[in-house]
Every structure is written in structure tokens, then in C-alpha cells.
Amino acid sequence: MLSIADTSFSSRLFVGTGKFASSSIMRQAVEASGSEMVTVALRRVDLENPADDIMTALDLTKIHFLPNTSGARNAEEAIRLAHLARAASGTSWLKLEVTPDPRTLLPDPVDTLKATEELVREGFTVLPYINADPILALRLQDAGAAAVMPLASPIGTNQGIRTTMQVEIIIAQARVPVVLDAGIGAPSHAAQAMEMGADAVLVNTALAVAGDPVRMARAFKAAVEAGREAFEAGLGRQSKTASASSPLSGMLTADLNFIQA
């Protein structure tokens, strides 16, 4: 079972709640996904439309709320949003996002580390969103991050895992859960992430913009479960040679005659 900062999750699928056509569709998609962790953003109340509230749309007895700091362009803004998020939600869990480039929304490694150090000191449970940089992931773990959330490809691109080599290193070295985030556009991408050994994936756009978000949520649920099952079962290794009976026939050997019998 997935465990982050002493909290257990039976689902390894995290769902973002943005970009859905309505909060009713969002709620149904979250339910269908089986997710126990949803991300939300903080914004000024729309004074023209005060009844539209996401917290009443979700069953918060079953679902953990993970506020993000989207919109923050530097550490200072992210920390302010973190304080507001804690006050608004009562949770000190936080998906830390610092995205100074409004075009790509790629995360700023320097200010992400800076903000993580400060927020951990203040008692937050910090899950930073990062580019797939193994050293940054380690530095964040050293700073006390509860998980790391490397991107599969730039957010919203639905390109799948374009950072495979780096993500493999991050997973191999990780002391905390690795949640693959951003760019996961299809259930097959999510399954691939889980087969690689990711601890969880976060999906938003792929659900929100699907023809039928609820069915797509179900598809992602199945894909994440299948990928995890495959990872735990131990995938058969790819072999360069086609012959199953003697897959080593093409392999080099070294002369070991120097060894004393």
C-alpha cells in the first residue's frame, strides 16, 4: 500500500480537479477513478458566482485534499499560498508548484528547493512538483520533502513519459514515494509509469478533456492497477535474442583459464 508521511492510500491514482466542464462531471470522474487524493488550487472567490464551491462537491471523508500553489512564480508567492491553503483547508499537505514561465509552466528548481526548506520548517507536508532532475529530487528529499512529483512531459501536453531515463534514476534512488505528474495523456502512459516502479501518478487534463471523463477515469483506474500489479509481479526482462530456449547463446564469454582450480 502507498504510504506518504504516515498516511496510507489504497489507490495510486491522484486526480487533479481543474479544467472539467462542470463540478458535477469532476465529482463523478473522481469517484469513478477510485482516487483518494485530489489536488485543488487556490483562487480569489468569484464574487459574481459565490455558490460554486469545490469543497462541497467532493466527499472529503473519503478523499484527501492536496492544495497546490499553482500560479506562484517564486518561493515567496508559493509560501504565501501555502499559508492560505492551510488556513482554508485545515491540512498542512501541499503540492508545491513554482512556475515562473507562464508559457510552459515548467517548475523552477531553485525556488522550489528554497520554498520546500522553509515550508518543511513550518511543519508542512510538502510534495514538490519538479522537472525530472534526479539531483534535485535528492536535494528535496534531504530537505524533508514527503514525496517528489517529477513530470513525465510538460504539463497539458499529453505526451506521456518523455523523461524515462531520469525518472528511472529518481525511482531507483528515492527514499520517499515518487508520483509521476504532468503529461500523462493516456491510460497506457499511466500503466508504463507504474511498471517502471513509480509509486503513484497524477492525472488531470487527460480526464478533464476526454470525450467521457467518467469512463476515462475508470480506464485510468484499471491502468494504474494493472501497471502496479505488473511491477510487483516482476516483469520478464526484454531479451535481445529471439531464442527463448537459450537466450544466452549470443552472449560473449570471457576466458577464465587464469583462475586456479
Binding site: 487533479g16 481543474g18 479544467k19 488550487a41 464551491d53 469545490i54 482554508a88
Partner: protein
Amino acid sequence: MQIILNGQQKNLDHNITLSTLLDSLNLQPDTMVAEINGRIIKPGSYPQLELKDGDKVELIRFVGGG
């Protein structure tokens, strides 16, 4: 008097409390957070908190996000 509410100037007839303001906007206090002049306000103190001329009020809550 005048306050700045979520970035917009807003004229208020007389000194009112934060609770009264939220009521007038049809906002449920438990689903949002208020920040006045950069300081987060504890929910319990809304009924006692009188707004002052020039206050910068931010009313914030969760929306969909990834």
C-alpha cells in the same frame, strides 16, 4: 468608506464586520479563507473584526486545479 476587495474597490456605507460582509456576499465562511492586509484572519474572529477604511481584503477558496 472604501476597501479593496479581491482587487476591486468597494464602497461600504458604514463600518461593518467581516461576517456581515461575507453574509452580504452569500459566502459560507467555512469554505474559504480571508486575508486582510496580508494577514490571514482566524475564522472565529470574523464576527468581531471590523473593517477599516483602506483595508485590502482577499477572500480566497479552493477551485479545480491539477
